[in-house]
Subunit: 369 residues, 2 copies
Amino acid sequence: MTDARFGLDRTATLGALALDGGGTLAAVEVAYETYGTLAPDASNAILICHALTGDQHVASTHPRTGKPGWWARMVGPGKPIDTDRWCVVASNVIGSCLGSSGPASGDPATGRPYAMAFPVITIRDMVRAQAMLLDHLGIGTLAAVVGGSMGGMQALSWAATFPDRVRACVTLASAARHSAQNIAFHEVGRQAIMADPNWANGNYYDGAAPTAGLAVARMAAHITYLSEAGLTAKFGRKLQARDTKTFGFDADFQVESYLRHQGLAFTDRFDANSYLYITRALDYFDLAEEHGGHLARAFAGSRTRFCLVSFDTDWLYPTSESRGIVHALNAAGAPASFVELKSPFGHDAFLLDSPELDRVMAGFLGAAA
Amino acid sequence: MTDARFGLDRTATLGALALDGGGTLAAVEVAYETYGTLAPDASNAILICHALTGDQHVASTHPRTGKPGWWARMVGPGKPIDTDRWCVVASNVIGSCLGSSGPASGDPATGRPYAMAFPVITIRDMVRAQAMLLDHLGIGTLAAVVGGSMGGMQALSWAATFPDRVRACVTLASAARHSAQNIAFHEVGRQAIMADPNWANGNYYDGAAPTAGLAVARMAAHITYLSEAGLTAKFGRKLQARDTKTFGFDADFQVESYLRHQGLAFTDRFDANSYLYITRALDYFDLAEEHGGHLARAFAGSRTRFCLVSFDTDWLYPTSESRGIVHALNAAGAPASFVELKSPFGHDAFLLDSPELDRVMAGFLGAAA
């Protein structure tokens, strides 16, 4: 007998969710997937939290792009997050556009998409929706919560918000708050979307989407995901399918062509309003602020084991951010391990092939037995 | 008796200019200013080259903004570039929009603005137009050519293209080529402009300008002019004229408000097409490539004295770029001095108050006596 709550491509309609911003989402929908089998005592669940433009398709084919899941190299039978042992849960964050409640969802008040009437949400709101999903699945305590980038922020927020429900927390390439530079880059992206006439104050669901603005937003963000050295190694000043410069405005350089492709491809799989809402949630994130300005207080009395990983060429969420979190964990007396890994790939390194990361992940989770 | 060629707010119509891209500009117009008095033997001329969005108003009121010249703190009587001693020449680069030939200029072939029919130009083309201006002014050899950022590239190009006309070269916060990351940020800006429907393939001079796209381009670029630490020190996560977050999409954070203002203010003083052309010239710049891939060859046999200055928090043109130029100068046997200055202000540091920079500048130019 199979339990229909588990498997790929699931959606749960949960209860009402009171939001940090003061409003309430009436009937939260959460799209999710599970991999592996939940133990009878529900003790082997690992929640994986995705990054800004990620989704629940951690290790399954993406329904819009047809590509493998974004962390298929990390999650699966015999992989570092071994689904022969763990029951992995991955949900689409609220505010997003892959099935969970977001600006493209129907507003019960009007029967039409929320658009900008969707409430502004926070990282903690995302986490609360995930907790409701775990209740639905009968999972009381997580063996671990794991995430990179925005997923790492959710992991930290999980440990701070539901300390008794998280035995271990793995935070990769992340931060406990968004810096002024982080906010600045996001604001460029938001302004690019809002400058697109097709955006129409968010009411574009019946017409053409603001793809040009969203593509520019993605291009700007994409630069921050890569290291300067990585860009130089990959592209340098190499020309794109030509021997000489054209003295025009075509994509002469490979890096231009690459960025344009990244921008355009993104618009096929992502909703511009979701990009606005999720970047806003990121900018609002400041875990210390939620605890009187003291990050250590977020983890006071915590019995969660923490593992933090940063990458030396990540300038979006540099090692100093992870180190600050470790200091706070130390001050709170929480067990924390921390490693800075070498990689030429900047922030994106946490998504890419890294035997060192695999060893850290498998080793840390293995010790959770 | 005054010589009408000298003074503020001048324009010269010069001859035809053959361009690196293969075309020719028929009658090049160059808008310029001079400060100080040219010696009878024309031996005391210093050419100042401006950055991407700079202009000839080095030390005079900007005609559109009403603000002081962009380097008024550096240039004037008794200042580090002392106009009691030097005759300073500053011209608007071709391709720009403050009076020199650019995409907004009239195309003799049609009588209407060139728009995108303006030829793509290079940094060396800008320098050749400046050389024609010096011919017009009766200045054979420069005591020095001085520039920061794109101005520094022009200064290097001057030394490489006209070695016998440059006794000294001062290059601040600059590079000998545009990196993949530099190109990537510019491509974001260009795509933001071109995504604005008002851009209309460049033919907007009779209608509304693509101000929204240009503002986004400026915002993205502006982040690269500041250091992460500088942004944190100046703005951090401080809110803008409010005590709590609004849970909306207004400019809650000061850094958002600041960036929006920078973007909008820029559109009052700059032409979007000029932004396309000048960023293209920057991306094409690779001084080594012009010399068989060997930067040292650009300076072979040079008797110019070089002074390079970088700033430790400049991540747009980091110190490693200046150091690479110094190595090439050393290999070429050219006299070169180099200093990395400390500043919290990132790339913009070369424009800001810096007693150390003032001392370096005055000392280096003084030794030119």
